[in-house]
Structures are given as C-alpha cells and as structure tokens.
Amino acid sequence: MSKFAKKKDGEVPAVSTASLPDIVFMLLFFFMTVTVMKDSSLKVENVLPNASEVKKLEKKDRVIYIYVGKPTKEYEKTFGNEPKIQLNDKFASPSEVGDYILMERAKKPQEIQNVLTTALKVDKNASMGLISDIKQELRKVNALKVNYTTYEGDAFNNLQ
C-alpha cells in the first residue's frame, strides 16, 4: 500500500511548459524596449530646482521641451562648462530657439498648435541671462505659455 498511487501507463501526457519562459521573456523584452520614452538623451546636467506651487503638465503631446544646463563630462571638453541650451539632441545657441519652436509646432496637429506649452527644464545652477534670452526668443515666436519644470519640494532647499 503506497501512499501515492503510481501513474498508470497510457495517460495523456501533460503539456510541456518548458517554452513558457521563452514566451514570457519575449513579452518582457517587447515591453522593455517599447516603453522607452521618446526622450532625447540628456547632454547637459539637469538637476531641476524645487518648488511647491506646481501644476502638473498634462498631455505630453502638447509640450515642447528645452533643456538648459552645463554640458556633461563627456561634452565638457568640446563645449566648455558654461550652461548651454539643448534642443532635441544637439546644443544650440539662444537664437536657434525660435526656429526650433516653429519647427516643432509645425509637426503637431493643426488643432493643438496654439495650445502648446514650452517646458523649460533648466538646471538649478544656470544663470538667468540665458533664460532671459530664451524667453525673448519665445516671445518673438509667440510661444507664450511656459512651464518652468521643477521637482516637487520645498522651494527654500534651492537656496543652499
């Protein structure tokens, strides 16, 4: 009398689950690659300042990003260590901002072209001179809605 009855011959064999991991891995890799945000790789240092009175930037398709900050270590030799503007994947001068905005605006569907927001992602150590230049350029192309992107936090942490 054994506790566990022995399997009789002639039973339907269980479906092999050995390939299940492969299928799941395939799915995993699919999601890992697909969910990468279309975000230009940063070539500038980008530690944003803190602010407490923030509003969320809803609807990503209505946002144009401008990055400002010191070039990262790799680019320091070629571009120096003064804060620079990064548009898409390259460094730019303030005078190119206007054209960039117009170009990006033209890419968007007609109906949202005049509700676009420009998100300024500026490193907290940048100086206002550059920002003012950008703002002037934005005013020239009538891109008046800006969002100073920040982290949520106590604004007084910025001062240290």
């Binding site: 407490s52 969320k56 940048a126 604004a155």
Partner: protein
C-alpha cells in the same frame, strides 16, 4: 546507480514565474511620469509705438533680485522667506476707500491708503539680474505664485468650501468628466477674477 552519472537537472518550472514578475515590474514602473512645474505666461511682444498704460506707483510691488540672490522689495532689503507674507499683505491690502469704484469688499488687509487699491489693480513687478541663479529665481517665483494661491484658497474656501488649488487641479485633469468641468470652470474663473495674477517680468538688467 544510473542517477549519479550526471548532475541533476535544475527545474525550470519557476522560470516563467520569475519572468512574469519582471514583466509586471516593468509594466508598472514604466508609466510615464508627468512633469510638474510652475506655469507662467510670457507677455506678448508689444508693438513699440504703443504707449505703456499709466499705473499708479502704489499699485506696483517691485521685487528685484541681484546677482547674489538678495532681494530688494519696495526699495528695502528683504529676506526671501518673508516675501510671501509681504506679497500677500500687498495684494490683499484693498486700500481704496469704501464707496469708491475700486473698493474691495473681500479684502482682509490693512487697507493702507499708501498700498494697493484693489487686488485686480495690484501688479507685482519682478526684475532680475543676468547673473542671478536660476534656483533663486524659481524660489522667488514660487513664493509669489504661493502668495496668489494662498489668497485664492482663502476666497475659494469662503465661497465654495474647497481649496482653489484642488479645484484647479481637478479642472485641469483630463480624466475629469465634462459636466463637472463646466461647473468647475465657472468657479475657478470667478476666483481668478478676484485675484488675477498680474506678475510682470521686466527684461533683465545687465548691471
């Protein structure tokens, strides 16, 4: 002893579970985080021929930031943590005498005749140096927006029993239903009308 001949096979049955776990992890964590920040409107480029409107000096609250991050508020040096308080006092002053068309019946300020007449008239003018650090600028902006939000919250609570920032966030949220949005829009605009954000940014001085 046939079994001792090779190493025992490692069971791969739980591999699927591990992979699923990873899959779920990536599915959950890669939700695109929404950025947040301070919304501002830039002034439109005005035609150079247009004469600037005449504004009474007492209705302007000047904030100057120098290159070292120090503040000059209404020609006095002020530490940055007092800024919100001062801005609230200025906006909420309601200095116009009762009976005049500018009289502010919801202001709770000191009603100093030397300060702003009415929140709808009050303008904050922000000026900064080219060398000012961006983080200082954001702190100042944050405090000024905070001053407006404080006052708007107060009025929203009084009128609708709910904080203004909450109502606005709900209004801007794309998931809110349209019928609720319509209702909120009216309320939000009413509060905005009581304390309109008039924050003027002069072009930066280079000295």
């Amino acid at each position: 002893m046939a079994r001792r001949a090779g190493a025992p096979e490692v069971s791969a049955g739980s591999m699927a579970d591990i992979a699923f776990l990873l899959l779920i992890f990536f599915l959950v964590t890669t939700t695109i985080e929404t950025d947040a920040g301070l919304d501002r409107m830039l002034p439109p480029m005005e035609p150079p021929t247009e004469a600037p409107p005449i504004i009474k000096q007492k209705n302007i609250f000047t904030v100057n930031i120098n290159r070292n991050g120090q503040l000059l508020v209404e020609d006095e040096i002020l530490s940055i943590d007092k800024l919100r308080e001062r801005a609230v006092a200025f906006l909420d002053n309601g200095g116009a005498p009762s009976g005049s068309p500018d009289f502010c019946n919801y202001c709770k300020g000191k009603r100093n005749a030397e300060s702003s007449d009415n929140p709808t008239k009050a303008i904050i003018s922000l000026k900064n140096d080219r060398e000012t650090k961006y983080s200082t600028y954001i702190t100042v902006q944050n405090e000024l927006v905070g001053a407006y939000n404080d006052l708007r919250n107060r009025e929203a609570k009084r009128l609708f029993g709910k904080e203004y920032v909450e109502m606005e966030a709900e209004y801007l949220n794309p998931e809110t239903e349209d019928s609720v949005k319509e209702e909120l829009k009216e309320k939000v605009q009413r509060i905005q009308g009581l304390f309109p954000q008039k924050l003027s940014e002069a072009e930066t001085s280079s000295e």
